[in-house]
Symmetry: C2
Subunit: 272 residues, 2 copies
């Protein structure tokens, strides 16, 4: 069988490669190019516009670290909003808690359909009765909805293409208005190694918008640099004062020790 | 100018690639193949037997995390031994402390010479008057020397080729006899993602040899999986009870928060 080699550049001159037995899907939607490959080493891999979004083998690092620090920091998260997250992985993690509703707003309905077909381990979360799936521009949704949330997770792709707006100040200002009192926001924040300048710029406006705008970090083997950043945004809750309750069972990466550890800022990322 | 593409497989079907403007060196020694490339994205990169050992851009993660947790946990490290570490990076970090001597035992003298020439940012440490460089088989050295050390750092390459013995029980048993009372050992322990079985096997015998055999973790962007493991071995010292003193200045990754965080075990690595 012919082997396909796929690669993602992490810098203009370096990156990762995978050998794939099969390309399962390649299509252009109005928003982006979607590709799914069956790889030997990482299972199925989802690419959007040529960038790895999800691999079956290592997706748990990212999805657990995006969701659990917020869900554990909030004393009683009942209503949750996910912006993006069309693969279903973040939703799966949110639904491990006894929430009343989890609204997912994904701009590209084809991502949801593709993941339903090829990533059932993530997308089975769409079938949960507490899940409400909305195919819509997340930036428009948050400006129009009257609903308010305890936890909001921004599971965007990188700040190019359809997700660009999800990294801007006006988006976070509008998002804040969707919080219930005591609510909090988490957002993927890119690679501290390769996206340090945008990360710093974003931190400046997040600190103006929120009393607490903290970054935390976790491994993400197939993302650039292998280390990923997340923003934790609240006007009150301290992420390190999690109540003494247990995280959901059967997690692969997250636990309470990992939660605390994730907020330790590497020396080169400390604010001066 | 023609661009060279170099790659390292992290699994049989995936890995990283770099584009290099120039191959600066390629030679076979009695022990291994040494290559040095000038890459656009990571500066100079040292390969031993085709595996990335050191890149100028990201070496600080590994060298700081190998050395500082031990040096900070020990109340007064005066005599230090490094097994391997022929690039000089671990030695550079050790010499940031007021040690009396730092013995480095590298099996392949060519690695030292090559790094003196091409990696001055690491290998300048060889010129320090406190450094004693010995070109010898580390496994033989520790069985023959009468010297005793406060801190021993095992900066080996992977358990193939000349470093295979440095991952075995008999080596660690002999190494323990080279400790001064209250001394401790740190050793690079591979990728928790890709080398999990050998890591677990090694942990079993390390736990028999030492009262404390703990693993800790840190980012290593160009190593497989981007997350790297280290073993902390002592019969007394608790790595989390570091004295309240400051780490050396000008570190890039390590600080006291990072130190504590590194010992948080991911859920999939917890012992059952």
């Amino acid at each position: 069988m012919k082997t396909i080699e796929i690669r993602e550049f992490h810098t203009p001159s370096s990156g990762i490669f995978f050998r794939a037995g099969r390309r399962l899907l390649s299509e252009r939607t109005p928003f982006q190019k979607i590709e799914v490959y069956e790889t030997d080493s990482y299972g199925r891999v989802l690419f959007l516009d040529g960038l790895v979004q999800t691999t079956e083998k290592d997706e748990f690092f990212y999805h657990e670290m995006l969701v659990h620090p917020a869900m554990m920091a909030h004393p009683r998260p009942e209503n949750v909003l996910i912006i993006g997250g069309g693969d279903g992985g973040a939703l799966r993690e949110v639904l491990r808690y006894p929430v009343k509703s989890a609204v997912l707003v994904e701009i590209d309905g084809r991502v949801i359909e593709v993941c339903r077909r090829w990533f059932p381990g993530l997308a089975k979360s769409f079938e949960d009765p507490r899940a409400e799936i909305t195919v819509e521009d997340g930036n428009r949704y948050i400006r129009e909805t009257g609903r308010r949330f305890d936890v909001i997770a921004v599971d965007s792709s990188d700040p190019v293409g359809p997700s660009a707006i999800l990294h801007q100040r006006s988006f976070f200002a509008a998002l804040k208005r969707c919080l219930r009192p005591g609510g909090l926001i988490v957002a993927q924040a890119g690679s501290p190694l390769f996206h340090l300048d945008p990360l710093r710029k974003k931190r400046r406006f997040l600190k103006q918008l929120f009393k607490r705008a903290l970054y935390y970090y976790g491994p993400a083997p197939t993302y650039p640099g292998g280390l990923w950043g997340y923003a934790f945004l609240s006007d009150g809750l301290d992420p390190l004062q999690t109540r003494r309750r247990r995280p959901p069972k059967k997690l692969k990466y997250y636990n309470i020790d990992v939660h605390r550890a994730a907020f330790a800022a590497p020396e080169f990322l400390k604010e001066r």
